[in-house]
Amino acid sequence: MSAPSLAPAIMKRPWLQRWMKPLANWYTNAAGYRQLGLRADDLLPEENDVVHTALKRLRPQEAYDRVFRLRRAFQLSMSHQLLPKEEWTKPEDDTPYLTEYIKEIETEMAEREDLEAMVINKRQSNANAGH
């Protein structure tokens, strides 16, 4: 799902994070989705199994809010308008609500792959006993 990112590496180094933070804030604002009332996780491409499953796992309220944000954004985009400033998405609301599910599902799928590819060895004691 996710593209390779430098973010984790930067987050690990506090000095680098302090240096990059203003830049990141500027970039997020410039991306313009907050002005349409969207959250970053609303922009994830959803045409794949992982995100599909993740969307199904959202709580009913979360799923409803997501659809509301998307429809409002379409409307705004078509009418070439932005939301009034007080309705822009606040940085503290811009939470990775979907990413946590996506990560969970990716681990599940990876685990399934691993288990499928597993090579099984007999326990030594059983092998000796001729089971």
Partner: protein, 457 residues
Amino acid sequence: MLSRTTACRGAQRAARQLSSTQKRGLAAPASGSFQYQSGEAKGVKFASRDFAGPTTTLALVAKAGTRYQPLPGLTEGLANFAFRATERRSTLRIVRESELLGATLTAHHSRENLVLEAKFLRDDLPYFVELFGEVASQTKYQPHVYNEEVLPMIHFAHTRFVNSPVDMAINSAHSLAFHRGLGNSTASASQTPYTKYLDAETIEQFSKSAYAKSNFAVVANGADHGEFSKWVGQFFNEVPATPLQQLSQGTEQTKYHGGEERLAHDGGNAIVIAFPGSSSFTGQFYKPEIAVLGSLLGGQSAVKWSPGFTILGQAKATPSTLVQTTSAIYSDAGLLYTSITGSAQAVAETAKAAVDAIKKIAAGEISSEQISKAKAAAKFKELENGQDIRAGLQLSGNGLVNNSQAYQIDEVAKAIDGVSEEAVKSAAKTLLENRASVSAVGDLFVLPYAEELGLKV
């Protein structure tokens, strides 16, 4: 041909076993292996017996059956959440790992108990004790798991339940007899319980009370007692010592009420005639004569191509009518019930015959030969419980949690041996004097009322 060393080893083993078990007389069962040794490790009650053989059956018996559920459907929900993803491993990993070890995992519930059960090879004991500890303390009660995996199972159970007249009749007889608590239905009769009261969060809350140390026992069949106690002490550390909230539901002494219920049903005909019965051997109201009376009434044949010696087996209207008398034992009460299924006409006739049979027993018109046959059958059934691992595990666990002693099958068998003819007669007399619980499900035009059968309700 036996080599010298093999014969020697066999003899040595036999000698060792002889010293460790009790002496047995002719009539006593090979009892040493039937006895459960019980103990406590860091607040967790456990019992085990070293049944010879290469496999082990491990069960966690929690006092969280439908009797104790604060909201309808919680027990079913919790049973279906067993062996799902925990904090440490996913559902898939649990399934795959136990498959690799050749094990079977099941979770089921009765009126009083929620039972998690695993059957596996003897060597794998630590793995499964750890798994049980994890299931009890670290299961993740995720909403999507509830929606995708748990809810459909509850719904299947509901569908199966409403399509089976005999299940409906048995549950209805229980609820007539005990009202709340023991009378709670084991499956949902309507969709309301699980659509209205149940969600993942409620089940999680319930799990914290159900899987508290004071509320469950771990029972193993085919495990060394010392080893088992070591693993139990090691792996149940994260389980809460006391329930999150004290469950008051169903803990008061059960009271017998009685009454009659009639339900129309298209899928078949069933009548259940129930009377107050005997509590479990570990409880206070143990009456061995009820078990004998149950097998005297009987209904099912023990041999093929014959109606059997039991009174109802011979009195039933048609060969295709199914009759069964069960003495259901619970920790503080019991229910002796006869369930009859078949065509409406036959069910009606057999129900009449059943009541007549009880009257006959009460009047003493039964030969002593028949009573001794019934005693033998009841005793066999008890001792078979000792062989039947599942029943034994649940009975012992139940005894440990409720009355802090394990169910000792040998002693029960002895109690049945001591039942006199007089006791059976007077038991039958008391049945008729008390209010019965009668439930008829099916074609209500044909099925008789309790009063027509000659019962007091």
